[in-house]
């Protein structure tokens, strides 16, 4: 089941001689339960693609559908509700609010969406527990390590009924062990049915995805197929 669909999406910044084509005719569909990596060098349009998919920015032309609903046909209020309820974002620099504890950061989107403080807070603590951070729930971001902060950001991105996870270089600032842990958590969220998009320039990060889409100068130039299951991968190795 396709959950996110981008249909011939283009984005132009500026006008006349200063015109910059950030995206040109992007076609991309992501199924529920699937993790797609968008890989490309800086300036290829990766981050623009992600912000448009997440309705943080509007395309110049083309259409984005989330769960079959075109974003262009929604009112600003409807789009804001979609961002609070359905879409979770993870950024390289974590974007946690410094004045809130880990649990308060995670429960914030629920509270903004009208969930009363107590159940919202309980859902926040539960999301942290699932990521192995239950004991850190009352800590403030500056009391947490980089790896822990990114796990809090992932908990915030998947809390409640979120079904689309959008991540921009989610392990960019982390060492390899924490980076791997972050990718395992994103994979786990997708295995529970979330549709995921990770944009990155890093092949090791991208290789956690079911499908890797290559972006160059704002265009999709190529994509890989999902890797086979573990049994067929081990078979040639085991044969003496």
């Amino acid at each position: 089941m396709t959950f996110l669909e981008m249909q011939h999406v283009s984005k132009v910044y500026g006008e006349g001689a200063a015109e910059v084509h950030a995206l040109r005719g992007i076609e991309l569909s992501v199924d529920a339960g699937q993790l797609v990596a968008v890989m490309g060098p800086s300036g290829s349009g990766k981050s623009t693609l992600l912000t448009i998919a997440g309705s943080l920015e509007e395309p110049t032309s083309g259409e984005v559908l989330v769960d079959g609903e075109p974003l262009g046909a929604m009112s600003p209020n409807e789009r804001a509700r979609l961002r609070r309820r359905t879409i979770g974002y993870v950024f390289q620099d974590f974007n946690l609010l410094a004045g809130l504890t880990a649990a308060e950061n995670v429960s914030l989107p629920l509270e903004l969406d009208g969930v009363p403080a107590k159940p919202a807070r309980a859902a926040g603590v539960q999301a942290l527990e699932e990521l192995g951070l239950g004991e850190r729930a009352d800590r403030f971001p500056d009391e947490l390590s980089g790896g822990e902060r990114q796990r809090v950001a992932i908990a915030r991105a998947v809390v409640g009924e979120r079904r689309l996870l959008l991540a921009d270089e989610p392990s960019g600032a982390l060492d390899s062990a924490n980076g791997e842990a972050v990718m395992r958590l994103i994979r786990a969220a997708c295995q529970r049915g979330v549709a995921g998009v990770v944009v990155t320039h890093d092949a090791q990060l991208a290789s956690w995805a079911d499908r890797v889409v290559f972006l160059r100068d704002g265009m999709v130039v190529d994509q890989t197929m999902p890797p086979p299951g573990p049994e067929s991968l081990l078979a040639p190795i085991r044969t003496p």
């Binding site: 090791q204 290789s207 890989t224 890797p227």
Partner: protein
């Protein structure tokens, strides 16, 4: 992979039978380097000929027992600390293909680079999937898979760097002046 030294390493833990050596070799290398039976026994015979191991019993085969000699211990210690030869650059087929494509009329070198990048990333996806399923349970396997992923990653990074460098060079040629990356200033002012 030096089968010879791997067998010496296994024997440094104590005397073992031929069959046992083969099974432990496969387990320790995360089954990434399969070994055939004949290879184990011929290697053991050579090690014995060179005085690095001793055997008990006359009958050749899986039940013959082996132990390491003092000379074998010394050889193993020296091998572990000897760096493999990484000094001279290998004649890298991929580098040659990209260099050739650069000057061929009618060939888009970026498309050639992407064909190789596609292949490498697909391979990395397969290794990562293996790591995801199996590496939690097996340290040797996780280490071997990481080595493969870092190796492939370094090739992808070279392709990315080459792609960018070729693109900037084409821009400079078209516009007649360096436009892409700022150069470092010749004199650096030290603030006081």
């Amino acid at each position: 992979m030096s089968v010879r030294h791997a067998l010496l390493a296994l024997l440094s833990e104590g005397p073992k039978y031929g069959l046992q050596l083969r099974q432990e070799f496969e387990a320790r290398t995360g089954e990434v380097w399969p070994l055939n039976v004949g290879q184990v026994y011929t290697t053991l015979q050579r090690l014995e000929r060179d005085g690095l191991v001793e055997s008990e019993g006359d009958e050749e085969g899986p039940q013959k027992g082996y132990s390491i000699t003092a000379e074998g211990e010394a050889e193993l210690a020296s091998w572990l600390r000897t760096p493999p030869d990484l000094s001279s650059p290998p004649r890298d087929e991929l580098v040659i293909k990209v260099l050739v494509a650069l000057h061929m009329p009618g060939v888009d070198v970026h498309e050639v680079v992407q064909a190789h990048r596609h292949y490498l990333v697909q391979l990395m996806q397969e290794w990562t999937r293996l790591k995801e399923y199996a590496a939690d349970r097996d340290l040797a396997f996780a280490l071997a898979v990481d080595a493969e992923l870092y190796r492939l990653d370094s090739v992808v990074r070279w392709l990315d760097a080459a792609d960018g460098r070729i693109k900037r060079a084409a821009l400079e040629e078209r516009e007649g002046a360096p436009t892409a990356l700022p150069r470092a200033p010749r004199k650096v002012e030290v603030p006081r």
